[in-house]
Amino acid sequence: MTAAWFTLVCVSEESLLSGSFEQLAMPHFERLYNFACWLTHDRQEAEDLVQETYAKALKGFSSFQQGTNFRAWIYKILRNAFLTSRTGLKVTATVPLDLEGDEENLPKIRETPESILLQRSDRELVQKALEQLPVAYREVLLLCEVEEMSYQEISATLSIPMGTVMSRLSRARRALRTSVQTAQVQKMQGA
């Protein structure tokens, strides 16, 4: 009986890993794919990235610490996979993505853009502006506004201090605002 009991415990330990992994990971699938598309600008590459992320996450799931933030953990895996991908390396070669949080290397933004007012029809315009943002700004904005992560979660996902999360968010918003504003003006002039 002891042997049978032991086997039972061992088997369930294994299935326990995959069972809870699926339960923890699959709810993030759509969002991870969306995030991957924003990073890669390419659906096929995004699929590869998501697939790689799930494979790596499942493989490393035993190292995931229970009680810590699973979402931050899996987004971090996806982001690291992106940064080491061909597209990721190309992107960070042209616009540095400073992992140490040294904001000096990131593009400078005009300090105080004017307040802008947006309309529903500006959605496409905002999408385009997001697309054109440096990846460091784009990702922090997506994590904050789309994923609605707390500063703490963003800090864990991007491996940067809380203070850097706040300053990078602030710069990203100003950059986006400037970009949207410019596009609004162009749209009005073109119309």
């Binding site: 924003w38 499942l58 947006l118 949207v180």
Partner: protein, 249 residues
Amino acid sequence: MVCETWNDKLDAYLDGELPAGEERALGEHLQGCAACAAESLSRVQLKRAVHDAGQRFTPDPAFRARIQKNIVAKQPAHWSRFWLPVLATAMVLLIAGAITLRVNSVRRGEQQLVSELADLHVATLASSNPVDVVSTERHTVKPWFAGKIPFTFNLPELKDSPFVLMGAKVSYLNQSPGAELIFSVRQHRISVFIFQERALGSLRADDAARSGLSFNVRSWSHDGLQYFVIGDASAQDLDKLSELLKAAA
């Protein structure tokens, strides 16, 4: 123009990340300051716009199915981290319950003798030194008992049988010494007790096969000796061993 003091805090305020005290203070300020209120409206609009515009790409359902299949393919079952401890606890309780039930039913049962022997058998299995003489050789075991018990008996021939003699020890029933032989058959242990019939005293032994407890029991008497075969092996195994013992006697 936005007030200098609040400019840097507006983002954190709108993100819900400002400490409670500052949040209240800024909220009050926004009620009375048109410039800051207009600025915060603009920022809220941008937040909302990014929130909407950011949700742009939807994966192919076939892709989702593929990923899901990959995960499930690794292992079949889906026990959650929540259910495993519950299940484990239930199993432990079940086992503990079974033991308690067994002990209770045996103790309460009229077969007090069987319960005594079952206890002796369990005590032997649980002991760190289960036997006094370790031997698989019946010719060593028989002489070992000489002078230790007030009777002699013959050990069965085990060649061509699934049984292995593990050893033997002296056992006591009503303070009378008897023989306990321990056999193994596959993963099971079987105790064979041999006592003089008169040593049983008021304890009654049915010459019968019993089961329904955790152990199967076989009992018979021969030539003034009472034999008991007890263990968690199958009824067939107990019958087979009983036949071998009877044949040797």
